[in-house]
């Protein structure tokens, strides 16, 4: 049980902190959240700066502890979030790094790291949400290409993406629905693709529906074997649950501090019920941070991908984060109804946390079956 960093890690932290202090003041102003091309340009510009400074590969090349330090320090310094590069850096990139051929790694990874190419995710379908493995988007082999027809939904950043990590059904006759799925890199400028933005309850278009009509995808764009895409995907999903939320826990601790300051100013701090509620949340986010450190220690020791421990983390994190915004609403009172306040928009966005990346109900199934060993069944 050692929570201290090595000298080398502390040096890394100090260097990073110094670079952030020198770099962040020179960044342009944040773009309009509704202007996707501007958001893409901003996020890619930030990624390019990271690349030039030697921090771009942190998400999959650095040691887990270094990654933790990177996410902690960038969040503490108020650096931009990965934004449009989320899928590239945290889903598709790690999957290609783990499962791709040398040629595929050389083709796709450097542009992700430089912020030149943006990826989106084509996993869910209208009839394949929690039951992702029942997806039906069809890919039929035709010479050196797959011909893909079907529909994807909840595809983040689809409007501005260059590539889509796409799950397709290559063998509809397979004995189990988990077999017969293949992972493809789909170029978003291919003929036959229609993107229709979806408006979220927060009013913005964070994701889209993607319609695929006989889109040709070269066979060389397949990562992993044909019909082995489910296993390849699980690598991606474990990454998502294991490390993708690290920065956000740090953010939550910062937000809670801000909230306490606001409460002290506007007098709500005198209400012991509210004060205790904030105290409890603080204890929970502190414990979540310790779980992150435990998961990272485990990942570092086994050299592997974060496992089912990520589900334990996500279950409580998503709940606690929603509770944070509800507590914020109690502090803000009437101001919580004003969309001009960041807190209000963030509260609306937080409603997705118990649904996205595996609903809480699915996470509980995973915990019960994979960790506790309870039988599969509904």
């Amino acid at each position: 049980m050692d929570l201290s960093c090595t000298d080398e890690e502390e040096e890394y932290r100090a260097r990073l902190r110094e670079w952030l202090a020198a770099t962040l003041p020179g960044l342009p102003g944040r773009p309009d959240p509704l202007d996707w091309p501007a958001r893409r340009a901003y996020d890619c510009g930030w990624q390019r700066r990271l690349y030039d400074a030697g921090y771009a590969d942190t998400h999959w090349d650095a040691s887990p502890t270094q990654r933790l330090i990177f996410l902690e320090e960038t969040e503490l310094a108020g650096a931009p979030y990965v934004g449009a590069n989320f899928v590239g850096l945290l889903h598709a990139g790690p999957t290609i790094a783990a499962e791709g051929t040398a040629a595929q790694r050389a083709r796709w990874l450097p542009p992700i790291l430089r912020g030149d190419e943006v990826w989106c995710q084509g996993f869910s379908e209208p009839d394949a949400g929690s039951d992702l493995a029942s997806l039906r988007t069809r890919a039929v082999r035709d010479g050196d290409a797959y011909v893909v027809t079907g529909q994807k939904i909840w595809t983040s950043h689809a409007e501005v993406a260059d590539w889509c990590e796409l799950l397709v059904r290559t063998d509809p006759e397979a004995t189990s629905k988990h077999r017969g799925i293949t992972w493809l890199a789909l170029p978003m400028d291919a003929p036959g693709i229609t993107v229709r933005p979806l408006r979220t309850l927060a009013g913005s278009t964070e994701f889209a529906e993607v319609f695929l009509d006989e889109v040709r995808v070269p066979v060389e764009n397949r990562v992993g074997e044909e019909n082995d895409g489910w296993r390849v995907t699980m690598v991606t999903l474990s990454f998502e649950r294991g490390t993708a939320f690290v920065g956000e826990v740090v953010a939550c601790r910062r937000l809670l501090g801000e909230l306490a300051r606001t409460a002290r100013k506007n007098g709500t701090w005198d209400d012991p019920v509210l004060r205790r509620r904030l105290g409890r949340l603080s204890a929970e986010f502190q414990a979540l941070w310790r779980i992150v450190q435990a998961n990272v220690s485990e990942a570092q020791a086994t050299g592997g991908v974060p496992g089912a421990g990520g589900s334990v983390f996500k279950l409580h994190y998503s709940h606690a984060r929603q509770e944070l915004y509800d507590a914020a609403a109690a502090v803000l009172g009437p101001d919580a109804l004003d969309l001009g306040r960041d807190w209000t928009l963030d509260r609306l966005s937080s409603l997705s946390y118990t649904i996205a990346a595996g609903t809480s109900q699915i996470q509980r199934n995973i915990v019960a079956e994979r960790i506790l060993g309870l039988p599969k069944g509904r």
Partner: protein
């Protein structure tokens, strides 16, 4: 950074688990429930095994280990519902003669309560006017101190200092290394939370209804998953607090550990259905002890205030 247990720590935990299985297995637990008393022989055996002297320097006859190791040991004690004023005696090992080797039993007044007052050799804190109550926990005799509910007892959090030691008679209020006592109590809660999770899962895997084991039903599965999440959250908090020794982190850890122990015992009872409501099942012993531990050192309201004050 490596937050995992070291090889030595894993061996320690294994050793303590084996020791407690031998000294205080389920039969001993049920026998103790039927005839509650402080088992002096068990106490001396715990002393001989280093349970109380764990954190004393080797030069003073101790084991020379730290708070992280003590937390692991108390998790195991909580898991098997080991009775007695374990935390008070452990914390007093460096200051009360005889506590370290298990020949002297030490208890302490805390939060208006004194556990094991009649059975202990030494009591720390002012116990003037203490009145015996019928304790909800069959394995924790309790005395109630006069004064308003919520009055801060001798073990309130504060700077560590020398305890007042007055053998079996009233003493002026003194101060203890109370943050350690709070954390070790939290560790017992974590052990209990883990034990009730195991018990619920094991029952859900063998109890059959509607032609299948009930653990296959999502309604039951999700209760069990929630129990594991509570346990893991509390465990990470308690172990990290043992490493940092930070009083605010300790207060937060106690809060989450209380919630895990009480909440998990409740859910374990629910998974057991009617059996969970019987005296014969052990679930109620975990719930009642969890209630006592939650109240005894830094109850939720004050823990929440302590953490909030640091925001």
């Amino acid at each position: 950074m490596d937050f995992r247990l070291t090889e030595d720590q894993r061996a320690l935990r294994r050793g303590v688990r084996e020791l407690l299985a031998r000294l205080f297995g389920r039969e001993a637990l049920r026998a103790a429930v039927d005839a509650p008393s402080l088992d002096r022989e068990l106490w001396r055996e715990l002393g001989a095994a280093g349970f109380f002297a764990l954190r004393l320097p080797e030069a003073e006859g101790g084991v020379g280990l730290g708070l992280p190791e003590a937390v692991l040991v108390f998790e195991e004690a909580g898991r098997v519902l080991l009775p007695g004023p374990l935390v008070a005696t452990h914390v007093a090992a460096g200051s009360v003669p005889g506590a370290a080797d298990g020949s002297v039993v030490v208890t302490a007044a805390s939060e208006g309560l004194v556990p094991w007052l009649d059975e202990a050799d030494v009591v720390l804190g002012d116990v003037t006017g203490a009145v015996r109550v019928r304790s909800v926990d069959p394995l924790t005799p309790l005395h109630r101190l006069p004064g308003p509910v919520g009055a801060v007892g001798a073990e309130s959090l504060g700077p560590a200092g020398a305890p007042s030691v007055v053998p079996t008679r009233p003493a002026p209020a003194g101060r203890l290394p109370t943050t350690d006592a709070v954390l070790l109590t939290a560790a017992e809660q974590v052990g209990s939370a883990a034990a009730t999770t195991d018990a619920a899962v094991s029952y859900a895997r063998q109890r059959s209804q509607f032609g299948q084991v009930i653990g296959g039903f999502q309604a039951v599965k999700h209760l069990c998953a929630g129990m594991l999440v509570r346990t893991e959250l509390a465990r990470a908090a308690v172990r990290a607090a043992a490493v940092t020794g930070d009083p605010v982190e300790i207060a937060g850890a106690k809060l989450l550990a209380d919630e895990a122990a009480v909440g998990n015992a409740r859910d374990c009872l629910q998974v057991h259905g009617g059996m969970g409501f019987t005296w014969e099942a052990d679930v109620h012993l975990h719930l009642k002890r969890a209630w006592v531990r939650a109240e005894l050192r830094l109850p939720a309201a004050r823990a929440e205030e302590e953490v909030a004050a640091a925001l």
